[in-house]
Amino acid sequence: MADTQLLLGLSFVLFALGLVGVMVRRNALVMLMCMELMLNAVILALVTFSLETGTLSGAVLVFLIFVVAAAEIAIAIPIVLQLSRQRSSLDVEGYDRLQG
């Protein structure tokens, strides 16, 4: 029981760290890494629940998330690359041309 609590707590802490990172940091790359952190926190939670309930569906979802995360990074990195080439900066404050 205590393991489950511990793992879920860890997952929550990781998620909170990632969220704060995304909200606070200005560097696009760091924001991407923080998002990965949040994903991993979710994966950890899923695996914990899978263990807890003895079903496999949680573990299967984990693989799905791996694939999605890989695809996401594959798209996000080139976008960040293009943006940094245009602005020669990674600061997201500068990317405000889509405002209403």
Binding site: L19, V22, M23, V24, R26, M31, V92, E93, Y95, D96, R97, L98, Q99, G100
Partner: protein
Amino acid sequence: MSRATIACKDDAHPMNLLTVIVLLPLAGFLLNGLLGRRLGRTFVSVVGCGLPVLAFLATFKAVLLLQAAGPDAALLEVAYRWASFGDRGFDVAFYFDRLTAVMTLIITGVGSLIHVYSTGYMKDDPGYARYFAYLNLFLFFMLTLVLGRSLLVCFVGWEGVGLASYLLIGFWFEDPAKAAAGKKAFITNRVGDAGFLLGLFLLYWALGTVNMDEINAAFAAPIAPAVSASLVGVLLFIGATGKSAQIPLHVWLPDAMAGPTPVSALIHAATMVTAGIYLVARLHGIYEHAPAASQVVAVIGVLTAFFAATIALVQTDIKKVLAYSTVSQLGLMFLALGVGAYGVAVFHVYTHAFFKACLFLGAGSVIHALGGEQDIRKMGGLWRKIPVTFFTFAVATAAIAGIPPLAGFFSKDEILWFAFASEHGGSPILWALGSATALMTSFYMFRLLWLTFLTPSRMSHETEHHVHESPLSMTGVLIVLAVLSAIGGFFELPHFLEPLLPIPAVVESLEHFEHTLVFVAVAVALLGLAAATFMYRRGLARGEALAARFPRLHRVLGGKYYIDELFEAVLYRPLHWVSDRVFLGLGDRLLIDGSLHGLAVLTRRASGRLSRVQTGQLQWYVAMAVIGVVGCLVWVWRHG
């Protein structure tokens, strides 16, 4: 119904004769309308004149069939089933009895003559093919109107001739006044059509059929149908007043003279305007049982005849005189219908078709000779230059004036006799007004003859130099029509139609007046001739002096009793005001436009506010998403 109807489509006559009669002009319309411009004038002339002539021959064959079948027989031909619902339905069926035969012969016969005349009259017009296409279209609809067995088919023709007359009156549509005349004719007719439609609906509601022979039979049956014959009669008569230019819907006909002159001869003399007469005569079963409606018909008819004749006295445009004379003669026909003399009315339709077509075409020939001049004050002395036109015009004038033994005398005399003595609503007042009309008719027609042809010339020298007789295609037609106007009256048409259209009984005490009235009628015609000769033999002077003596009367007549102005003040202005202020200003601009524009403004303002949320700052978006997710979670936690 005891009347024998025989199917036209039996083994001996495998072709659908009546359908062919109707469809021939339609084929002409399609050929000329689609190919006419490419294939040239010869093609247009051959198709345009040939198909009506073929229709005339086919009609002739149908008449022979009909004669062989007996006096009150009818040919019946179902072309196809138009609509069916439950055990009821509407057929497109053609019905051919003696009344239809007379009308169809007039339409195809006089129609063909006018087509031939048009090849000369419209020779140099750029819209030659279009003109013949319209003319054939008109014939098609007119034949549908008279051959249709059901009121519904008749109504299709009724509307169709309205359309065709709109196209033909506004044929020279580059001139806004002429286009406006076309619109006026169409719209005025639509007012009457409303009455026609209501009558039709009422008949279908009460009888469950719109076949005209069955309607007549239903009203003749011992158990009267559950509908007021007077109401139906008046409603249908409203339709007839529109088409046949009776008070108060007569205003379109004089303006309709804007069209080419042969069109006036075809539509406003021989065929379309007689549709109202045909309708009432065809549905005489209703009017025989509706004395009130018959009285309305007679009174409106005689008033129209009288007032139109007074207007014609002072007109100076050769076609306008003829237009008002047409309105007046149609009024006399309705007088005959109103006193129950249906066959006599058709008799006058038949003689009128000849002499009025001859007069209109003669007027066309005069206008053609003078290069477009229509004012009789600028004519005179034409008889030496265009003798054929003069002689035919003179014969037709004498015929319409009622000088024996020409055609108009017989029909008009019979109308006046029945207006006097018919048991079905005849009265001396009707006779007196009718006779006064006859007097004026004789006067203004001979006035026209004197001023146009006989007085010393008042033309400018240049116009006079160019005057020339019309080509054979025109004069030949005039001669044929003049001969028919002369001898047409010897055919006892009311007697021929008697098996279908009963001749009303005469009040016994008045019977011995018959010969007296004939003498009065002749005297009236000759008096008109004498008066016109006295006034206009030397030219305009005496007529103008008379007009100067009674300036106010002259102005009222010249202004056509200001009916147009009255309509403008009573109908047009209020309607225009209501449309402009209420429907346009309030309804359209304020309500519809206002609500739509309001919606647009609202959306634009709201989106202006909302778009500020879109800052372009990623962190801001993330914060919003987190707030949203947290909000959702809290809500689920509180309510879950």
